[in-house]
Structures are given as C-alpha cells and as structure tokens.
Amino acid sequence: MADIRLSIPKSVESGAVIELKAMIRHDMESGYRRDIQGQAIPRNILEYFECRLGDTVIFSADLFPGVSANPLIKFYHRAQESGTLTFTWREQTGQTFYKTAELVVL
C-alpha cells in the first residue's frame, strides 16, 4: 500500500479558505530512463489525482511524466460543511490509492 501523507487543518471556521497538502510515495517512472543493462524502464505513472468532500469533487489533476516523483500537491478549499475528505490517486495500471481525513467546520 502506498505511503500517503496528508496535511489538513484540525478544525476551521465556516467560510475560511484552507490549504490542503497531499503527498504520495511513487516513482512516477517516466518511461524515458534506462536501467543498468541499457533496457528501457517502462513507464508507470500516476495519471489522476482527485480530492472529494463526501461525494463532491473539490479539486482534481491530470498528471503526466513531467510531474516529479513522490508528487506533492498543495491546493485550497473554501470550508462550508464538515465531512470526509478523500484523496485518491489512480495509477496508469488502473490501481488506485486513497486516504481519508475528517474536515471539521465550526
């Protein structure tokens, strides 16, 4: 299972714009590298990231080989209601990785 780290505020005032940070450990193998025998290393990247509050998508990103390994992404959300934030990444193989966090709006 992937190593995912999230950084979200513990609790926020309603209407405040909060910063959300998410990082996943992943090589984001670009497909442009060769191994020690000179064989091309096949591409294996995360191609999609999504952050949902309940069922509502609040932010998403399409990722390409131009994104660094262990991608960190920092974005924002206007807090209006409490709920479960789900951070999901989809690898090109179709495998998905996710982690959830509770957002508490006062």
Binding site: T56, I58, F64, V67, S68, K74, H77, R78
Partner: protein
C-alpha cells in the same frame, strides 16, 4: 598613454558585451515557440486567443536539479459558481511531452492556487494557461535555468 590604454579597454569590454549578447540571444530564439508545445496548447484550448494578466506563475530562477522544480500558479478569480477558474495547464518547451500537469478547479476550491513539483529537461520558459468558467484564456510564462536536466534520453 594611459588614456589611450583605457579607451582600448573600454572598446574591448563593449565588444565582449555585444558578443555575449549574441550568444545568449541565439539559443533563446532556437527554443522560442517550440512546435510541439504549440501543438499541445492548440490540442487543449483550440485557436482561442490567450490573454495576458490574471495569472501568475512563480518558480525558482535557477534550479540545480531538473527532477524537482517547484511551481506555484495562482489565478485571480472570485471562485464563485458564476465565475471560477475551470483548469490550469502547465506546458514545457523542451520536455518530450509538452503538457506536464493539468489542474481542474471547482467553485469549492475557494482559491485558484496550486503548488507542485515538475521535471524539466533543461533550461527553458515554462508556460501556464488558465481557462475561466466563461471560456476565456489567460496565460503567462516563467524563464527557468536548470543545471542538471531531468533525464530524457530515449
């Protein structure tokens, strides 16, 4: 005698400056308007005019490693259901795939700002284009120097 020597020096220095200006101008022109990047932008946004302003792209001017280059894009928008930023795309002039990342915002984003890290295959100008909810496009660019290019050998 002293005056003459000083004049010679000054002339030489000016000449060197002109030569250096020519040398730096050449590669810049060679990279400008990379056809692959232009094609990628056209693919995504069509032929619509890209306006200046409302978007800012911040990156380090000099990066030691092209593998991890921080990017920070912010678009000036109220982010309401009527007027928000739909998406922001980052393009590279020199990477094998011009499109590096595409960020999709919603009115729930609250603020149209995103930070991440990208790979760059050498010194170049990075371009960011934002598409607003009314379909208008705003673009900006940032020139970066990269000491060690991210590996792009085929």
């Amino acid at each position: 005698m002293m005056t003459k020597y000083r004049n010679m020096n000054r002339r030489k220095v000016l000449g060197m400056g002109a030569a250096a200006a020519c040398l730096t101008a050449l590669p810049r022109q060679a990279w400008a308007d990379e056809p692959a990047m232009a094609a990628a932008i056209k693919d995504m946004f069509g032929d619509k005019a890209v306006l200046d302003g409302r978007i800012s792209l911040t990156m380090p001017v000099l990066s030691e490693s092209g593998y991890f280059v921080p990017v920070d894009v912010e678009v000036d928008s109220p982010m309401t259901p009527d007027d928000y930023v739909r998406r922001v795309a980052l393009f590279s002039e020199r990477n094998p795939i011009a499109l590096m990342a595409l960020y999709n915002f919603t009115p729930y984003s609250g603020r149209a700002r995103v930070e991440g890290k990208v790979r760059l295959g050498g010194s170049q100008t990075v371009h960011a284009i934002a598409e607003m909810s009314d379909g208008s496009l705003y673009g900006t660019s940032f020139k970066v120097h990269v000491t060690l290019a991210a590996c792009v050998v085929n």
